[in-house]
């Protein structure tokens, strides 16, 4: 919309600054944990710790994908919750038709890749990403209704039940998947050509385009990655309850956006990292869990999350401008 100029990065050692910010975020999580444990001993139990990590894992996996969108300078997708829902439903419907799990999963992923690619292509032509994904989300909700008639679809598969509820070394599968997603996202962004191009595109779209980076290619790919991450969450959700739900994914987009922004990934793109998003997701999950233990209502929890986002975004924005000036 309004094209705010992207300030030049700090001249003195960006690596040190990034490290400082990561330490700050980790410190925030630790302080919160210590405070929580002081006021409520149940908060620091290992079981609660695993519960927090499991909660963080679900939105955290999607947030890994969303980090790519934000880094590339395309703000956010408001279709990720619906993509997760649609992925679960599509897989369940395919399995209900008699397809084996592997085949249903592959077919579903193929469809999700196409959906992400189409959104990315529209947005790379200059369409507003928020509105495009808002429309795509409504479309997906409608399609899910078309396939299911608005009813949840039961899934009967031992493999899927294990994916949803299994534990490896006492840690839930979702948490392992989250850790793997963070590692892959970090590797792609830091060690591959595509990753560097994504960050370059976010830092300065005009320069990136002029220096021969395929703006369309990168934009399409970041939306494909985000859609795949959402699909992964959809599979885990469906697996956990052995049924694909057609509703209840409304808060996913909020949590994902909160995780990315609180992790400190610059909203204008070009600065940020999946590690910080992961910390953001854990922070949000910790905050939510703590407020839950205090028996605060979901309204208060949503309000606090929203206030946090506004403050943190405005804070990062002002800090970035100071440095640029």
């Amino acid at each position: 919309m309004s094209d705010t100029a992207i300030p030049a990065g700090p001249l003195r050692s960006p690596a040190a600054a990034a490290l400082a910010r990561a330490v700050l975020a980790a410190g925030l999580v630790l302080t919160l944990a210590a405070l929580g444990g002081y006021f409520n001993p149940a908060f620091l139990s290992p079981e609660n710790g695993l519960a927090i990590l499991r909660a963080a894992a679900m939105s955290g996996i999607v947030a890994m994908g969303a980090t790519f969108i934000t880094l590339s300078g395309r703000f956010f997708s408001l279709a990720l919750g619906q993509t997760a829902m649609f992925a679960g439903v599509l897989m369940a419907v395919l399995m209900a038709w008699g397809l084996p799990f592997g085949l249903a999963l592959a077919a579903m992923l193929a469809v999700i890749v196409c959906l992400g690619a189409v959104q990315g292509a529209i947005i790379s032509m200059g369409a507003n990403p928020i509105i495009t994904t808002l429309g795509a989300g409504a479309l997906l909700a409608g399609l899910a209704g078309l396939f299911t008639g608005g009813r949840n679809v039961a899934i009967d598969s031992a493999a899927l039940a294990w994916i949803g509820n299994g534990r490896i070394l006492g840690v839930p599968t979702q948490t392992w998947a989250f850790v793997a997603a963070v590692a892959v996202a970090w590797w792609v962004l830091n060690k591959t050509r595509f990753g560097r191009e994504t960050i370059f595109l976010g830092a300065n779209r005009a320069t990136a385009g002029a220096s021969g980076i395929g703006v369309t290619k990168v934009t399409v790919l970041v939306f494909v990655i985000a859609s795949l991450a959402a699909a992964m969450m959809g599979v885990f959700e469906a697996a956990q309850f052995s049924k694909a739900r057609v509703a209840g994914f409304g808060a996913v987009d909020f949590d994902v956006i909160a995780a990315v922004l609180i992790g400190g990934t610059a909203i204008q793109g070009g600065r940020g990292s999946p590690l910080r998003t992961a910390l953001g997701a854990v922070f949000i999950a910790t905050l939510q869990n703590y407020m839950l233990l205090l028996a605060w209502s979901s309204g208060v929890r949503t309000l606090v999350t929203g206030v946090f986002i506004v403050l943190i975004v405005a804070g990062f924005h002002v800090a970035a401008r100071r440095k640029g000036a």
């Binding site: 509105i131 409608g142 309000l303």
Partner: protein
Amino acid sequence: MDILKKPLVQRSLLLAAVYAAMAVTVANFGTSGNAYAILESSALVGIVAAGLAVNMMAGELDLSVGSVAACAGLVAVMMSGHGVAVAVACAVVPAVIYGIAQGYAIARLQISSLVFTLGTFIGMRGLAYVISDERTLTLALSDLGISMALRERMLLIFSPSSLVMVAVLLLAGVLLRYTRAGREIFAIGGARRESRAAGVPQTRPLVVSFAVSAGLAALAGALASLKGGSATPGGYETVLLAAVTAALIGGVSLYGGRGSMIGVLIGVLTLQVLLSGLQLTGAPGWAANLATGLILLAFLGVDLVNGESPVAEALRRRSIRSRARA
């Protein structure tokens, strides 16, 4: 045939064509009773779209309108014992103050409104749950007359709430066209840098546009909740989608500087005629989602070609080049 090239004429023809198609294919569609129902259901989206259109003309977008409408609906239902005017005022005045604060913050921070309002979109939704204590509020039995009065049929196809929508759109259209603040909104939306160079103040039009979008969202939410007799904290989640779709159909550009309130009215009616037709054929609830999503994406494409978008610029450059060669 030049008259056919005017965007407003084209969009009116689209509305007429959609209406005619529905009237022919769907039984009982072309009655005055159904026209009343369509206008009645347009009121909510129409008033929200009017505010959002002002925002879009300034080149910004207020994502928090649905959450603000939900808060306003709750407040209006709580205050309904004091009469409609007081209830609506109690809902709208705080929303306008909120809009002014939001616009001022966005202007001074020079932050993208998409980002800022994403936070308030979540925060205001939380506030709605807090002020309602997570319950659905209903009008007291003694106040149900308000609900009846707002939907009372008058002038053949109108009701007080749809008349409010028409009045809001007309007033907004006149103010945009003939006041200084209105022209400033178009100026900063059409060409932010050039307008700044020409000495147009940057803060005031932004503050005005966000005050209008929040105030009208609150008005719409308050009226719709009073009319429906109840307000839920999770309500009006889809109104942003519908309002943006309506504004896009009406030719308001997401790239700013372009659009008119008559266009918004045409857009809202086109969308509601379609949705009402779907409803009358007995299509299930998800069909409305599907249709709105499809229409939104289609008109995003139209906006890409018509508005001040990169695609439109590339097309213009190409046509200039081909003309130069000829």
